[in-house]
Subunit: 336 residues, 2 copies
DNA sequence: CTGTTAGCGCATTCAA
DNA sequence: TTGAATGCGCTAACAG
């Protein structure tokens, strides 16, 4: 059976269509008696306003778009949970988009912002290109970045550079000097900017300690477990292998453990390992890692976005989420 | 600047509004010359059809709704990935809904199916109540269940009963007779039906081996790690503790490992453990577990749903996804 | 082949 | 306080 429309309700209740609308949206005062009658009719006909009608009339979709790349990464679920925690109780819906290739990403930015199908965009884990920024600006779509900082876009910033530096300094404090860094391919067009940020922090820590940078200690790896392990085995097979490794994700850090296991390198005795994210597995594996409150960052992200949608002139405050180094048993002082 | 409408394009191109629509949708033949002109104007004006307009006119939203409960559970990301893999390249959008409480669930089923805001519904991990079925039927919203089987609703079925039975039989084959089962609270209104299904499989395996059921061996626990560990410590502290445990999720199985560690019970020597899902962590922890291809199940789920939307009279074929017992090092023959 | 028109369901005028 | 009319952007049926 066709769902009831606002006109059905109006006819049945013997009132005008505008009156029903007024009752629904409290947009203007309505006589209490007629109000009750309308309300009763709505219930009787089981009427629900059609969102598309509203959207068309209001020029608003009550939907926010979310892009969370790297959906294989466990920690992404935390980000999504944070988003849902705010969007769920709100009047907004959530549209989840996939962008797994450069082509998809281009198409997305060229179309969606202009399509009027979302009122705002939440972008995780991705430092927008100049081109993408252009589209965001031009479409005037309220946009918030989470995880990365950008001077031109409101964002919830996690200072990964400082966190990475702090992690590496932890290793240096343990007397390590041969410290490697494992990340994704920094020049991969689909890479998060994140690997780079951590790299900067890594470099800063080394520099501050007067430890020269060794290019062979920067291991850029694919993220799937097999290939990662392989890359790290190579790293650990260098003539002068590192005594400590900082990995830009817990997943990669676990691959370090895999590789060390394969090579019979005891951890932390002969090799210290620090990860990033503090995923559940990290605790289980007793991995020293950097904890970021991804849930909280997401929550602040959409809250900011909703504010921005509500009032585009909101001063785009840029929050910062603190990180914390969780020291477990995968790091130890350098054995002499 | 206001985005261009179909009328802008028509005026600019000097054609009728219907012609533009025809070009866009190939809904009727158009003279090649005018077609090119329209196409050029569309590009020139950077015109994108407004979805709400389409939706309103077509009575279709090109959006499918998805409910994936228990978003804290790592394996859920696999399901979501499967969905995205199909929805992403399609013309459909994905609306993710939260239902974390009974109230939310009720509200969802009472409103969303009728709202016309989605063309189809994909329901994970949830055996619908009679009431919910009523709403699904009444609203005539195409709906597909994934993970659970229901006689009245198209579904992608994973035979958890058989898989659980198989897992427990593995333990029995290892000569275990004191076999406990750890799950969520079976009577929790927000529980997945899943804990119950595994329970049935567990019982069947025991019965077939003539092992009497011991109520004290069924440990119903909260799912967060601390409380789970606590519950399992109690289980393992029984006067006659189990020598093997089947957990309905890898997360719980890992909590079993936690608890065993706390009590200095060596695994698998003194206690065998089997989990469920084969999350990444399971491999890492060398946990024997049941692997279900969650990605594949999701893919089949939306594919079926899209078919159903396309043609509501599609014979609601009900697929079944096989499971596989992955034997690792958390299970061993009963020590005499 | 193509321009025009009539809704789709709703919010918001403008009159009354 | 309220009903009727207008328009949001689009598709499809209708009339050339």
């Amino acid at each position: 059976m066709k769902p009831a429309t606002i006109r059905d309700v109006a006819n049945r209740a013997g009132v005008g269509i505008g009156t029903v609308s007024s009752v629904l949206n409290c947009s203007r005062p309505v006589n209490e008696a007629t109000r009750q009658k309308v309300l009763a009719t709505i219930k009787e006909l089981d009427y629900r306003p059609n969102p598309s009608g509203r959207h068309l009339s209001l020029g608003k979709t009550d939907t926010i778009g979310v892009i969370i790349p790297f959906f294989t990464v466990t920690s992404q679920i935390e980000r999504l949970r944070g988003v849902m925690a705010v969007v769920g109780p709100s009047d907004y819906d959530l549209n989840l988009f996939t962008v797994e290739t450069v082509a998809q990403r281009n198409k997305f930015f060229q179309t969606i912002p202009y399509s009027g199908q979302i009122d705002g965009l939440l972008l995780f884990y991705h430092y927008p290109t100049e081109d993408e920024l252009q589209h965001i600006r031009q479409s005037e779509l309220p946009t918030v970045l989470v995880d990365v900082a950008h001077p031109d876009v409101p964002h919830i910033f996690i200072d990964n550079v400082a966190a990475a530096r702090n992690a590496v300094e932890h290793l240096i404090a343990l007397k390590h000097r041969k410290i490697a860094y494992v990340s994704d391919y920094l020049d991969d067009p689909m890479a998060s900017n994140f690997g780079y940020q951590c790299y900067v922090g890594y470099c800063m820590a080394l520099e501050a300690a007067n430890i020269p940078l060794r290019p062979e200690y920067h291991c850029q790896s694919r993220l799937d477990r097999q290939q990662a392990r392989q890359s790290i085995v190579e790293l650990l097979s260098l003539p002068e292998p590192p005594t400590a490794i900082f990995a830009f994700s817990d997943e990669l850090a676990l691959s370090v453990l895999d590789a060390a296991c394969e090579l019979d390198i005891p951890i932390p005795n002969s090799l210290s390992v620090v990860g990033y994210n503090d995923i559940e597995l990290a605790d289980f594996a007793q991995l020293t890692t950097v904890r970021q409150n991804l849930f909280e960052a997401s929550v602040q992200g959409i809250e900011l976005l909703l504010d921005l949608i509500d009032d585009p002139d909101t001063t785009p405050i840029q929050y910062q989420i603190p990180t914390e180094l969780i020291v477990r048993h995968s790091t130890a002082p350098l054995a002499c």
